[in-house]
Symmetry: C2
Subunit: 268 residues, 2 copies
Amino acid sequence: MERITSLQNPRVKQLVRMRDRRPRDEAGAFLIEGYRQIRRALEKSIKLSELYFSSDWFLGENEPALIEQARAAGAQVVELSKDAFSKVAYRERPDGLLAVAPQWHNTLESLEPILNGKAAPFLLVVEAIEKPGNLGTILRSADAAGIDAVIVCDPVTDIFNPNVVRSSTGVLFSVPVVIAESQPVRAWLRERGIRAVATTPSATGLHYDADLRGPLAIIMGSEQYGLSDFWLAESDARVRIPMAGQADSLNVAMATIITLFEAVRQRR
Amino acid sequence: MERITSLQNPRVKQLVRMRDRRPRDEAGAFLIEGYRQIRRALEKSIKLSELYFSSDWFLGENEPALIEQARAAGAQVVELSKDAFSKVAYRERPDGLLAVAPQWHNTLESLEPILNGKAAPFLLVVEAIEKPGNLGTILRSADAAGIDAVIVCDPVTDIFNPNVVRSSTGVLFSVPVVIAESQPVRAWLRERGIRAVATTPSATGLHYDADLRGPLAIIMGSEQYGLSDFWLAESDARVRIPMAGQADSLNVAMATIITLFEAVRQRR
């Protein structure tokens, strides 16, 4: 087994670079840090290409078993010195485990086998979300609400950003996420007979009063700009969430979860 | 006007110390950083005792007007050098404004004038929330849902923690927040005829099916331990949120907003 102690080692440098999008995309890979996330990835059959560890940072007793599991599943295991691991870790409190996995790219077509046979697909479309933490929280909400797939239109934040991976608490590994442009997504929803319901503060009707049953896509806009004119014009219905307090009390992640769980109520 | 350049200045040191709870409590004061938060505080008539600024960090054009407004409202205005401000700022990207305001302490009794005359008070009780970011988000949800007051039982996180102030986006300045022990809160709710509905994964009934109209207190537990045995036993009803995905997809802030907005639906 390889052991790395030098902070100048090319692998160490590459792991640090992979926090940024371009090197990540060039490598076609992304980072998964920490015991819990890596365990989740293995549970969901994410293929880890590399697993870096430093026992000096371990917090528990189960790390060696997880390392063995990753190795058995085909990961190259590399030991790092305490200092080298400190350099590659992006968390404030590292736990001595960092994996690299290949990126995947779902398409609208790849959703067909998932949606076929479903009488009422339940989808979430998010447009140009900026903050990785919001995107991760939105993925968690989608998972909790039983969404069949999340479609990210015109992405600003890469779903393989380390903060999306972390804040999704592993949901990224299980909920199908498609990256696509808005126009083909709109056409695809229409072809499949899926109603597009947009959430926007400018709507007159409340989300409570809209029919959220049947084949449904909830459409959410970006933090700063809300929904684009395209989605506002092209949606089948527009709804708003009633707001009692100051205008910005709900952020996009909060608005998403409110809308999704009203849909869950109606769809029971 | 005083101008501070030394990083060893006692005021500079005290501002840094006030990020921690004990010095904050000893001073009976707390920190409000950034243009937006300070503007919100002034809008809500929070009395600022001190306002520190460094024009080297300003991001816009409106800072001098805000400083004048604070001075007119009685704040002592102190200029800091760029380096000195860098030391006192707790944000990653400071904008050159940091205020100090006196803490306040609401009691159950102080809620009486707010609740008197309300046929159906709508309260949120949270128990031992640990993460400042969650508490701030919960305050935002409460504001959006039109909650009359938030009661924090057996607090672990101080509501004047800088991260609560920041993540509440100013809601801390407007929604009444009471800190109290669980037992007197339970007795007070009973005296006032306010039903206590607890959210817990162990409940059999869903929150959708519970009656959330009338005088109501929603009870939420802590991140790690959920609700205490006390609140589970003493609540008038227990409900759970349906969960389609992995067990931990909903955190306490997300569970709170889902429950509050189902109550909003029923109470329209």
